[in-house]
């Protein structure tokens, strides 16, 4: 193929891929009802912030975004602590049953989470965590994928480094915090982005466990709003913009680390 056709095809492909997102942004600034014309307008005639005002003042989107930030942030921080320590132990510490337990963790990767959802709901009800942040955060405190990724990465840490610290009399947790964590830094960033994005975008479980609007995350609330406001397209586009923007920006900022994690995660097993 010629240089011209390769680049031409790619430019067309990229533009076509971004078109729905660009149109969402454009329509979010249109007057109510403006998008419903033939031919469909590509740009707002008179750009307005009315949809965003309506979204935050009337539809309560600020609360839902805050819920999402708190839930995704809490999951990211807590699961980092759980997965990093467990992944490191599976890679570098000796304890009985280590290999068998790790195989069990790998097996957990294959189970679709939906199978667990019905009993998990009953468990959450019993723990009084339905309709609370805890209902979403607690089951996500550790993840098989996170443990797997950390373990693979931590295996490259030289044993001599850990051994030397032990001879100097350092405790295992001191070694972990002072020596191991700094070496795991690239993996920490990767895992943090992967986890935050996945928690932010998660839909089915938050939909089940957060039926009370006050606690709903942005995607769950947005799905509810879109069922109520079928006609208010411009308003819904503004809702989509504020839901997608945080994750898109985070991805643009930490793209390299995110894609690295994606590649490592895809070759599991």
């Amino acid at each position: 193929m010629t240089k011209w056709s390769v680049n031409g095809l790619l430019i067309a492909g990229s533009m076509l891929t971004l078109l729905p997102l660009a149109w969402m942004l454009s329509a979010s600034f249109m007057q109510p009802g403006e998008a419903s014309h033939v031919p469909p307008p590509l740009l707002p005639a008179h750009a307005t912030l009315a949809n965003y005002r309506e979204l935050f003042l009337r539809a309560g989107m600020g609360r839902y975004l805050l819920n999402s930030f708190l839930v995704a942030g809490a999951i990211t921080l807590a699961s980092l602590a759980f997965n990093l320590s467990a992944g490191y132990a599976f890679a570098k510490l000796r304890f009985s049953g280590r290999e068998r337990l790790f195989r069990a963790v790998l097996a957990a990767l294959l189970v679709p989470l939906q199978v667990a959802m019905m009993p998990l709901f009953l468990l959450m009800k019993w723990l009084h965590l339905v309709n609370s942040y805890g209902g979403v955060v607690v089951p996500a405190l550790a993840s098989a994928l996170g443990i797997y990724l950390v373990r693979q990465y931590a295996r490259s840490i030289p044993d001599e480094l850990i051994e030397a610290a032990r001879i100097d009399g350092a405790g295992e947790w001191t070694i972990f915090l002072r020596i191991v964590l700094p070496l795991l830094k690239p993996m920490i960033v990767t895992l943090a982005v992967l986890t935050f994005l996945a928690s932010w975008n998660d839909f089915m479980w938050p939909l089940i466990v957060l039926s009370d609007q006050a606690w709903q995350t942005a995607p769950v609330a947005l799905a509810g709003l879109s069922r109520e406001h079928v006609q208010d397209n411009e308003l819904m586009m503004a809702g989509s913009v504020v839901t997608v923007l945080p994750v898109l920006l985070l991805f643009l900022l930490l793209q390299r680390q995110y894609l690295q994690g994606l590649l490592l995660g895809s070759v599991k097993g």
Binding site: N7, L10, G13, S14, T17, L18, P20, L21, W23, M24, A35, H37, V38, P39, P40, F82, S85, A86, A89, F90, R94, L113, V115, A116, M117, M118, P119, L120, F121, L123, P139, L141, A142, A144, E172, F176, W200, N201, F203, I208, P219, L222, A223, S226, R227, N233, M236, M237, G239, V241, T243, V244, V247, L248, F251, L252, Y258, L262, L263, S266
Partner: protein, 293 residues
Amino acid sequence: MSGERAAWTFVAPALFVLGVFLALPVAAALLLSFTDFDIYALANLDNLRFVGLGNYIEVLRTPLFWKSLLNTVWFVALALPLSLAVSLGAALLLNSPLVRFRGLHRTALFAPVVTTVVAVAIIWRYLFHTRYGLINYALGHFGIGPVDWLGDPHWAMPALVLFAVWKNFGYNMIILLAGLQAIPQDLYEAARIDGASAARRFWHITLPCLRPVLLLVAVITIAGYFQLFAEPYVMTRGDPLQSTVSVLYFMYEEGFKWWNLGRACAIAFLLFALILVITRVLLRLARAQDHNA
């Protein structure tokens, strides 16, 4: 030495979470699937009865289950080849040495993957609008009359497929791109010296070298697409004429709309078993072919 005890303080918290909030619920789901757990049992556990395989039999006798299964299989059958083709095409283009601004294109093509399904489903619901949607507007230029994408039982599922391919192809593209970059360049050099055309190089070098990666990508994609849920939930609510009710959508309604949790567990296990069997058979077939080759 307390090395063993120290090690356990590292793994115990994570294993506790996975045990209590994953392993235990999965085991409980199997048990629940043999009971008639419903809204009465939810109020008072005395109403719970053991029904053996009753739920499974009942589910298999429900026409909507078979419809949802057929819908889901139809979705996967359309979306899998289309996804793989688009992903591979994009990866091949990105891998070409002639490309300028490679990073920029990769970011643009990957962007839909990180977006929130619900939010972008709302966009596409409007793009598919019969009168005001951009898609029918564009098709109109080619003389194709307006298609009632989300209102016509024949077109609703293909519409969800188009949306899902747009949303997901970037993921496979990245994995395939890494696979392409791992193919030794001297293979192409040797073929070029032998005078092999670009098409022949693709068929005889690129595709065979990429086979393990393609298989991996196919397995991931199948497992993911069988879990279709948010798309019909937001875009069609399973309509028109239940043509977009997926197995998970059916499970969700059984479980959390009608509170038949026992039946919902049976549906979940049927789906899980189906995914497991299909991916296993695929891997087995691929391995058998490797032996013959």
